[in-house]
């Protein structure tokens, strides 16, 4: 209740520390002013002495000097005995004050019931007692590591806690291969999302997951067929072949695709901005693709990045300016089913909008990326032809198209 160290005593401190000599001189001057007839009285509050010396106030019990006569007062104050007595008196007064303060505080809290409330009923502390035994920690637990799981805040996957840091590195698109991993990841997610269903997604994700295997808690599945999807949860749920498990992933996708799809379709400035917060985005002169490295990408200057941002946010697609007549050029309408009429290069679109979905997508179907293996993913062409169909032959299309998409991965 009363904070230690700030007990009212602290508050009184300035008064305590008043050197006696100061008290005296100030006392004198006060008396002077009292004599000269100012509305009566010294400024009592701080130096109670003054008030006590105050003749008008009729003070003067105990060892206090007689009132009125200034000279008598001064001489009394100069005598060490009186001074000592006065100092004692003031000290006593202050101490009483301080104690009274605490007493009142406690009284109030008792009377208003606060004390009882604050005390409450004490929990028995036996269950929190420390254990001191050889080989055990203070909680009484042996150092045997129980496999702990946690959910990645970035991709919402369930994984072993002890492998979280390496996972997160890749999940956030950092590290040695981060750029291409991230781009692949982005790519996968759009394909599935823009298609309105996980066409080919199963295959793509499966191969991704394959490499991601060691992060998963369930290690037994390591030897599974390459094309079978392997997201930890779905895989466990669906023990059957590809068809079943991909439908498992379908349901998973569908639950998630709504938001991403709308993101893609509308592609508002807000979302574009969000995407550009994640990747470098500078369009390469050679490959004509957006750089998917992080914002700190050393290859491009911040001026270049700024230029791309200006372009994108003003509504133009940065890649179309350089590659208008490309065979793979399509409209967004064809892709998303609704929305803008701007001519967009498919690859540029891929990466750009995918980055957005990368940000938003927490579905299990996208792998947080992994090693450099290039076996993966449906091409944009394949996706286009199979839009909005849930195909069980996704793995085939994935294989057939992997070459057509290779250029993206370099």
């Amino acid at each position: 209740m009363v904070h230690p160290g700030v007990v009212p005593l602290g508050e009184e401190k300035p008064r305590w520390s008043l050197p006696v000599s100061t008290v005296r001189t100030r006392g004198q001057s006060e008396v002077w002013s009292a004599q000269s007839g100012v509305g009566g009285g010294g400024e009592g509050e701080e130096e109670e002495e003054e008030a006590e010396e105050e003749g008008e106030a009729g003070g003067g019990g105990g060892g206090r000097a007689g009132a009125g006569d200034r000279m008598a007062l001064v001489s009394a104050l100069t005598s060490p005995d009186t001074l000592e007595a006065l100092a004692q008196f003031v000290a006593q007064e202050l101490l009483d004050d301080a104690i009274l303060n605490v007493v009142f505080e406690v009284h109030q809290s008792v009377k208003t019931g606060l004390l009882v409330l604050e005390m409450g009923s004490l929990e028995e502390d036996t269950k929190f007692l420390q254990v001191s035994a050889e080989g055990l920690d203070v909680f009484g637990q042996a150092p045997v590591k129980k496999q702990q799981e946690c959910v990645c805040p970035s991709c919402s996957r369930n994984l072993a806690a002890s492998r979280f840091a390496p996972h997160l590195e890749k999940c956030m698109g950092m590290g040695r291969n981060s750029s291409r991993i991230a781009s692949r990841r982005i790519q996968n997610s759009t394909k599935e999302n823009s298609g309105g269903g996980p066409v080919g997604g199963g295959g793509a994700a499966a191969s991704d997951d394959d490499e991601d295997e060691d992060w998963l808690v369930d290690r037994k599945r390591k030897k599974r067929d390459k094309n079978s999807p392997r997201r930890s949860k779905n895989a466990k749920l669906a023990k059957a072949g590809d068809g079943v498990s991909s439908s498992g992933s379908n349901s998973n996708n569908n639950s998630n695709s709504g938001s991403v799809e709308s993101t893609l379709a509308s592609g508002s400035a807000e979302e574009k901005r969000a995407m550009l917060k994640q990747i470098c985005g500078v369009v390469s002169e050679h490959t004509r693709k957006m750089c998917t490295r992080s914002l700190r990408c050393p290859q491009h200057s911040s001026e270049q990045r700024q230029a791309v941002r200006d372009q994108v946010l003003s509504g133009a697609d940065p890649t179309t300016t350089t590659r208008a007549a490309d065979s793979t050029t399509i409209t967004t309408r064809g892709l998303g089913g609704e929305g803008e009429d701007i001519q967009v290069d498919i690859d540029g679109l891929d990466e750009g909008q995918l980055a957005t979905s990368w940000d938003n997508d927490h579905s299990n179907t996208t792998s947080p990326a992994d090693s450099t293996s290039t076996n993966n993913s449906t091409s944009s062409l394949a996706r286009r032809t199979k839009t909005k169909k849930k195909s069980s032959s996704s793995s085939k299309s994935s294989k057939s198209s992997s070459s057509s998409h290779g250029s993206l991965l370099d």
């Binding site: 509305g39 509050e45 019931g113 929990e123 920690d137 840091a165 997160l168």
Partner: protein, 561 residues
């Protein structure tokens, strides 16, 4: 005067007419009324659920008095005779607050609320109340209301507000800052306290406040810093008293401060299972990109980055940059020479100190002084590479040695000439760093990892460090006076500069493969070794014998502003 004046209002007018000075009551009273009406609302809300004794309602006699005479008498008594809000009021108090019977100023003068009558508690005020049937009196020192009919002091929230308000004004009129007030639950907290009557009191032998942290894959650098932070006494007090006001709507997925706040809750929850800091790692990586990546990290770097992110998340959203903040406070931009630190977030309050750097021109002896904020002090361990004197050659063996070396004047040499403002030319100079302002938590970083001349090595020399540290010898005022005497002479120490060790981070192993552990203090003198999820008891000897990489000291005495 008191013979013909019978009410306090009359008395008050009387005082004013006698030139007692004006008492600013007008506007404040209006505000007070607004306040009291809101408290009424609150009270009616929680009153039914509160038991009989749980009342800030005063007593029937007080309510009766308030309904007939209002709160005006209280205001007058409080502002004149209890908490004098002006010099004139102080004069009036000195004049009137004496026992009308024994003419003494003590003990415990009470003022009758019904008539103008002052008397002491040694019988005279009692005499007055019985003879006059005046039940209510006020203690003129503390402002408590005594009801003679009930025979006890009574408390009323409305009156309390008036008293608090007057007290604040009184302090202001004396030039004092706002008074420290102990925590008191408001109505919401009151209901919470009632709803949850169980209280947990950590005893020295309980596990509350301790928690193991799972290693997420080479993240021991994070675990040990988090252990040090969660055992920082003042930071703990801040978070456990729920002081953080979030600028991200308490979204702990975005705000690191909220996440740390959540960690404190976890540490004190009594749960014994180790914690998984995956969200924290994700937050740090997103907000301090330079730290991101799965590799061995430097605990010191992480510490600084964590403080930086915390500091950024603490800031008031409208004043996003320190510069803006500075502008809002001072109106003009900070000059380069004097970078005053203006942030008042909890991180800066606890960890920021001021380092004074004096550059002395060798030609004209002109001194150029700058003061820079610091969060930690990095101390060199190896022999001084450029030094020539004997003192420079010796390798430090204790923290005091390191600090002595840190605050020693350093000759900048002929290759680093600095333009002197005094002689307007480039001159050789000496530079000295000293402590201008000490932080509440002083963190020392022993530079055990040496990266010089393409040679990377770890310095494992034993550096002794004390459990209690006195920083007085390294203060600016002290050190600068010593310059000519070469060395630290013994001075009376200032108790405000005394520190106690509360956490030590250790690094074991080599430069490229190592492990961090931490020793933390709990309950003043209990020490624990935190090795990821393993928390074991340790002794102060274990701690002081350890190698030491980061040392955290906490001030022993804190002052309130």
């Amino acid at each position: 005067m008191s013979s013909h004046v019978h009410s306090w209002s009359q008395f008050y007018r009387c005082l004013l007419s006698r030139g007692g000075g004006s008492v600013g009551t007008g506007g404040d009273e209006a505000r007070l009324d607004a306040h009291s009406s809101t408290t009424h609302l609150h009270r009616t809300k929680w009153e039914p659920s509160i038991c009989e004794i749980m009342s800030m309602e005063g007593c029937v006699h007080l309510s009766e008095f308030k309904s007939t005479k209002g709160t005006q008498p209280f205001r007058i008594i409080y502002s004149f005779f209890v908490f004098c809000t002006s010099k004139a009021a102080r004069q009036q108090k000195a004049k009137w607050c004496v026992c009308s019977v024994c003419a003494a100023h003590a003990p415990r003068i009470h003022a009758c609320l019904h008539c103008i009558h002052f008397a002491c508690y040694q019988g005279h005020i009692q005499d007055h109340t019985t003879s006059m049937q005046h039940n209510l009196v006020v203690d003129v020192e503390q402002g408590q209301i005594l009801c003679m009919a009930c025979g006890d002091y009574v408390y009323d929230s409305e009156i309390r507000r008036i008293a608090v308000n007057c007290k604040e004004k009184a302090r202001r009129s004396l030039g004092l800052s706002t008074e420290y007030r102990a925590w008191a639950p408001d109505s919401v907290e009151m209901t919470l306290l009632q709803a949850h009557p169980k209280r947990r009191r950590p005893t020295p032998n309980s596990t509350i406040g301790l928690r193991g942290l799972i290693n997420l894959g080479n993240t021991c650098f994070m675990s040990c810093i988090i252990q040090a932070l969660t055992h920082t006494p003042l930071l703990r007090d801040y978070f456990l008293s729920d002081k953080h006001v979030c600028q991200f709507n308490n979204d702990s997925t975005r705000c690191l401060v909220c996440e740390i706040s959540r960690l404190f809750q976890e540490f004190y929850s009594g749960n014994k299972a180790p914690l998984i800091l995956h969200k924290l790692l994700h937050l740090i990586w997103t907000h301090a990109r330079h730290l991101a990546g799965y590799e061995q990290q430097d605990a010191h770097e992480f510490f600084i980055a964590a403080l930086d992110v915390l500091h950024r998340h603490c800031q008031v959203p409208t004043l996003s940059t320190p510069r803006e903040f500075y502008l809002s406070v001072h109106g003009n931009p900070p000059s380069n020479g004097d970078s005053t630190h203006t942030c008042s977030c909890i991180i800066d309050q606890i960890f920021t100190g001021g380092l004074q750097s004096d550059v002395v021109c060798q030609a004209c002896n002109g001194v150029s002084t700058t003061i820079d904020p610091f969060w930690d002090i990095s101390l060199d361990l190896g022999p001084c590479p450029y030094g020539t004197s004997k003192a420079d050659k010796t390798v430090p063996t204790s923290l005091a040695d390191c600090l002595e070396r840190f605050t020693r004047p350093e000759h900048l040499g002929s290759s680093a000439k600095i333009k002197c403002n005094g002689c307007q030319s480039y001159q050789e100079s000496t530079k000295q760093l000293t402590m201008k302002k000490l932080p509440i938590v002083c963190s020392f970083h022993l530079k055990r990892f040496e990266h010089s001349n393409r040679l990377h090595k770890k310095i494992s020399t034993f550096i002794s460090f004390p459990e209690h540290l006195d920083m007085t010898p390294f203060m600016s005022n002290r050190r600068n006076n010593n310059n000519n005497h070469n060395g630290i002479t013994t001075h009376p120490t200032d108790i405000n500069n005394r520190y106690s060790l509360f956490a030590v981070v250790n690094h074991v192993g080599s430069l490229d493969a190592g492990h961090y552990t931490a020793y933390v203090r709990q309950h003043r003198d209990q020490w624990y070794k935190c090795d990821d999820h393993m928390i074991t008891r340790a002794t102060i000897q274990d701690v002081l014998q350890s190698e030491g990489y980061l040392l955290f000291y906490h001030k022993q005495i804190l002052e309130y502003d």
